[in-house]
């Protein structure tokens, strides 16, 4: 966090390479080097950044997000124009807002304005330590609001939980490469993180319930006992499904023994249930 009451209005000092005055981010990276040089060049040249993002402070970021950010993404279109989202993320790197400000972005502001939360999540993934990234971002795996995403190919629909999952699992999101996060289980082993509780409930109980349900179905089918040849195919199909399920279960339980956190995380963005 940069100390002091004021911050420079444009990026010239931030990008100055002759011994930068800005401090390193909490995860030990130079904030001026987190984004790629070509992308920074595009951002600095863009009309939105030059006019609208000049002399912004932490409160001004809220203004811009509310009025100008209508989609997430890196660069879009054939001209690879940087999105306002990315421009503001770059501005955040310069501002290096304090933790309490980020908390407002994520919680109070994030409840009301989804793109504000998305921006804060993106910024946290860029600058915070891995344990903090997990701790701060995981609650939003339950946020199911829609987000618009623009890429070079066009516009697509995504969701907040998907976006957060991308941030936690992928190394390249929104034209920015991240350092790979250590596995969650490793952090748990090191004692930096608590074991994660999935909002779906305990995985063992869920699996047991599934097994019981399968058994009950099996018994019901055997009790009927009057399967005709015509239904045999369907039955076979169902058997196949069951087999696959069981294999899946096996795989899940095996992987769980290795890395429960990761598996659970992979499962959570499941909207089919809502």
């Amino acid at each position: 966090m940069k100390s002091g009451r004021t911050v420079y209005a444009n990026e010239s000092r931030f990008l100055d390479e002759r011994g930068t005055a800005s401090e390193l981010a909490p995860n030990g990276e130079n904030p001026a080097k987190i984004m790629e040089k070509a992308v920074i060049g595009r951002i600095v040249d863009s009309q939105f950044y030059q006019y609208q993002c000049f002399a912004l402070n932490e409160a001004g970021i809220v203004d811009r997000v509310v009025n100008d950010v209508h989609f997430i993404g890196g660069t879009y279109g054939a001209a690879q124009k940087p999105t306002p989202f990315l421009c503001l993320a770059f501005k955040l790197l310069q501002l290096a807002p304090a933790d309490d400000v980020l908390e407002v972005y994520l919680g109070h502001g994030g409840e009301r304005f989804k793109y504000l939360r998305a921006l804060a999540c993106f910024y946290i993934r860029m600058t915070r330590r891995p344990a903090d990234v997990y701790r701060l971002l995981e609650p939003y795996l339950a946020d199911r609001r829609k987000l618009r995403r623009k890429t070079r190919q066009g516009t697509s629909l995504t969701y907040m939980d998907e976006f957060v999952d991308d941030l936690l699992t992928k190394t390249r999101v929104c034209a920015t490469s991240f350092r790979e996060l250590p596995r969650r289980t490793d952090l748990v082993d090191l004692g930096e993180l608590e074991e994660r509780e999935s909002p779906l409930g305990d995985i063992d109980e869920l699996l047991e319930e599934e097994d019981e349900r399968d058994q009950a179905e099996e018994e019901a089918r055997q009790a009927n006992g009057d399967d005709e040849r015509s239904e045999g195919e369907i039955d076979g199909g169902r058997d196949g499904d069951g087999g696959e399920d069981r294999m899946d279960v096996d795989r899940r339980s095996r992987s769980r023994s290795r890395s429960p956190g990761r598996r659970e995380r992979g499962e959570t963005p499941d909207r089919s249930k809502s």
Binding site: Q50, E58, G109
Partner: protein, 239 residues
């Protein structure tokens, strides 16, 4: 520079040059000296800075305010298709008001919006408008207040937009009535105008100026007009 107390070139005081401005020579001499001294000082400071390998900056006055973010977007498209009259030779290069984007504070004109925006962000422009190149940081409380403000704005907008079916029907009915009244008014106006024209034409037919009257020719018409009708034949076209 005529001084009425002094004589003219030929000894006689020139009485017809009173309208000319009388310059206070001493004051202007003092001002000139001051300006020259300032320029000399500045050029010296520049020279010294150059010798020391530094860049010269105009010293701050102490009255500068911190820079603030812009509230609006630069609206370039509103100027499309408009014509501006620019006096010939108004601008020398960028200096002065010419054709293009003009900056009042710095008296500079730029040919395109990109250069113009770059200028708006430059330290020179900020110095000319009395701003520093720094921005004040916002605390978490201020950020929260800003979020609240925008959230209130959005709720307000929704409240304005959300109108019940009854209200919408009522609005539509009022609108229809207003339109009908307007139509009626226009129709009446047209009728009125037509009637006035027709009456004027009738008048021309019956009233003749004295100069065009031929003795005894129009006696019959005048009599009929005084009786209230203008001629024989069908009364269909008459009002």
């Amino acid at each position: 520079m005529s001084d009425p107390t002094k004589g003219g070139a030929y000894g006689t005081p020139a009485g017809d040059t009173d309208f000319r401005k009388t310059w206070d020579l001493e004051e202007y001499a003092a001002r000139g000296k001051e300006r020259e001294a300032k320029e000399r000082e500045e050029s010296k400071a520049r020279y010294e800075a150059k010798l020391a390998g530094r860049k010269y900056h105009i010293p701050l006055t102490g009255n500068e305010s911190l820079a603030s973010a812009r509230r609006t977007a630069l609206d370039v498209s509103s100027q499309v298709g408009k014509t501006q009259l620019v006096p010939a030779g108004a601008g020398q290069g960028r200096r002065g008001r010419g054709a293009g984007f003009y900056c009042e504070a710095c008296d500079l004109t730029y040919k395109d919006n990109k250069q113009f925006v770059e200028h708006m962000n430059s330290p020179q422009h900020l110095a000319a408008t009395g701003q520093k190149m720094e921005v004040e940081r916002a605390s978490a409380g201020e950020v929260r207040a800003r979020v609240e403000y925008w959230w209130e704005q959005r709720l307000e907008l929704e409240r304005e937009q959300a109108v019940s079916l009854q209200e919408r029907l009522e609005l539509r009915r009022e609108e229809n009535e207003r339109e009908a009244a307007e139509k009626r008014r226009k129709r009446r106006e047209v009728e009125e105008r037509k009637r006035a024209e027709r009456e004027a034409a009738e008048k021309v037919k019956t009233e003749y100026g004295e100069d065009v009257r031929i003795e005894g020719e129009h006696d019959e018409d005048d009599m009929m007009a005084s009786l209230g009708f203008t001629g024989f034949g069908t009364s269909k076209n008459k009002t």
